[in-house]
Amino acid sequence: MSTITLHDNQHNSHDDHGHHQESFLSKYVFSQDHKMIAKQFLITGVVMAVIGMVLSILFRIQLAWPDKTFPILETFLGKWAEGGRLQPDFYLALVTIHGTIMVFFVLTAGLSGTFSNLLIPLQIGARDMASPFLNMLSYWFFLCSCVIMMASFFIQTGPASSGWTIYPPLSALPKAMPGSGLGMTLWLISMVMFVASSLMGGINYVSTVLNMRTKGMDLWKMPLTIWAFFLTAILGVLSFPVLVAGVVLLIFDRSFGTSFYLSDIVLGTTILPNEGGSPILWQHLFWFLGHPEVYIVIMPALGISSEVISINSRKPIFGYHAMVYSLIGITTLSFIVWGHHMFVTGMNPFLGGVFMITTLIIAVPSAVKTFNYLATLWKGNIRFTPAMLFAIGLVSFFISGGLTGLFLGNASLDINLHDTYFVVAHFHLVMGSAAIFGMLSGVYHWFPKMFGRMMNAKLGYLHFWLTFISAYLVFFPLHFLGLDGVPRRYYAFTEFEFMQKWLTVNVFVTWAAILGALAQVAFLFNFFYSIFKGKKATENPWDANTLEWTTPVEHIHGNWAGEIPTVYRWPYDYSKPGAKEDFIPQTVPFSQTMESNLAHDFEGNSEAEEIQKNWNKQNNRVED
């Protein structure tokens, strides 16, 4: 039996990875190994995040000092910053591309792409993804889409400028504004490739989780990270195709002259022939993806922080089942709330009420998760590693940003708050900062697994505190601008008298943003330096239970040298009363931990219960 199994393994790995003598190209560039693809996603994601951040600093400078000139901007940006001031069109391009990069390239591909790829095979006990080839394609489509998006900075008319939601008619009429021309076309091409990449990735993740788990790894023994990545992938597979449908119709409107979204438009002095379409239909199709998208962004971060908080509190996660059910609840509900982005489109108030109710119900699973995080921390034997601090930071942002979601989900309040800085403050806390903190937590935590070395903890602390404080200093004041009615995406506040008083606040926010950006230098240095020079990692540096820490530090194809280990228990046996150590890996059978087994560990297996009872009697053990 064992020879046949061994033979199968060799056969499979041969099938999956081709020849064993690898060239530089097949190992680092066109790799089909999930661990290498994860690193490719991460490094691309980090580069895109830096670009997205630099763009945000540029428009923050404009918002803080709208009347000042900065000749250095003209040096770098040429005619887009003529006379040292950003041009209004370029300002719009900056906010559009900042949003697109952060939401899609960093927090979707950078986050899911990295950690789903790294952790799904390692934590469920598989040698690789269901289709390693598709996995490789997924990365290359992603990289191409990044390059195309960035290419739009190098064309005459500049990048797309109609906001990351690209509402028509600005996106549908190439002549509407400079950014509606070639820049918008490149945006659409880039996004089609991005969706293809996401689908290939997501389909692979779902199939791998369902079909390739190791022996003993039933669904209820999976770590919460895997649950989160799995449900995120399902969300992606079910919602991204709708965006494709919307984008295809938009491309026809732009390039062929159809009227899916256009009607009654006067451009300058010419009346356009398009008739009968409706831009609201774009909003429906867009937000049917767009809203699940925010959960695609936050759920992997929630999964990562569940794992990190449990490990570093040295306690089982509080309410494992409740955590899973709340993720499932969020996944399901996210499909029926998209209308809350459209309360002011003239929608039937009754329909608005329905969307309002479904939206507010999401507060329930979200609150369950928050409560469980806090309960896990409660009386834990906490280890404040940088990863743990970032995970706790996520919980903080999830609460402070989530609360304002209750305001915005309420249709009658949203009519006032819609398109103001209140919205900006809300989503930058709850999905921006929270998801970034989850991602950073994952990077600090799994860095030893990815690169075989440790990141410097002291720099990690510096990075955390500066980023945490500056994120609040940047986004908290924006709530008050929003409540006062200051609209988002405006180029300068100098033209409106009631906004003048917010100018000093904008200066403050910009300085905080610059501080936050500088803090990232600590991370970037730490990250790249540690890849080459960090302290060598041990096999299980955090004393964690999950399967990835049973693989050797040096990466090998197929992850485990011999047979894939069998799983006997859930991943959260930390500080189990009676146990010799404060963690029991998933691969340790109950027969080796007789001193700490509990009645419910055996899931009703009466024979095992009987054996345990006899052992308890012989060893005078009293089970609580």
């Binding site: 195709p241 295809v248 199709l285």
Partner: protein, 194 residues
């Protein structure tokens, strides 16, 4: 002996199962995309109080019949492989492929006859443009499907082992029958929502 054994069981390995599942997931996401299109149409026609208002060209009906026939050929080819009757299945596979090409040709004919009646792509009634867009996107799926069928034909002529060929046919059947059913759905949808 051992090699044969492991190869024969290939279609039952977790890896093969996972790959079949990948195709099913693709089917699901594609269904959702066309769901997105047709919901656009439903909301559009409900809010404007009009549909495309055309009598669909006969070519669409013929192409539907042709696509069903090609699906039937593929079904028979797969059954022959299962019964280890490999001689006729090559013919049936090629027939599937040719019928797929004919389907594509019929779609072009249908667009031509729509165009001649004045129902052009660039139209102030988006419901008419919609017919072109969905049928074109469906045709893209057919192009992909032809690639999958071609993969089976190559497998049948090379020849790969019966087990591998069966796996390729399984993949092809899921995909090809899906795009068949998808077209029937789109055709009936357009018929009912004129």
């Amino acid at each position: 002996m051992e090699k044969e054994l492991s190869e024969l069981s290939f279609i039952n390995t977790p890896s093969a199962k996972a790959k079949r599942f990948v195709v099913w997931l693709f089917v699901a996401s594609s269904t959702i995309m066309f769901g997105g299109f047709t919901s656009y149409y439903i909301i559009f026609s409900a809010s404007k109080g009009k549909g495309h208002g055309l009598v669909l060209p006969d070519a669409f009906l013929f192409s539907t019949v042709i696509l069903i026939l090609s699906s039937l050929c593929l079904f028979l080819a797969k059954r022959l492989v299962k019964q280890s009757n490999l001689s006729y299945q090559k013919v049936l596979l090629i027939l599937t492929f040719v019928l797929g090409i004919v389907f594509g040709y019929m779609q072009f004919m249908a667009w031509g006859s729509l165009y001649r009646t004045g129902a052009t792509l660039i139209n102030n009634n988006a419901a008419i443009s919609f017919i072109y867009v969905v049928s074109a996107l469906h045709l893209l799926h057919i192009v992909g499907g032809l690639g999958v069928i071609l993969n089976c034909i190559f497998g049948a002529f090379k020849p790969v082992s019966q087990d591998k060929l069966m796996f390729r046919l399984q993949i092809a059947s899921i995909f090809w029958h899906f795009i068949d059913i998808l077209w029937i759905y789109l055709y009936v949808f357009l018929l009912l929502n004129s």
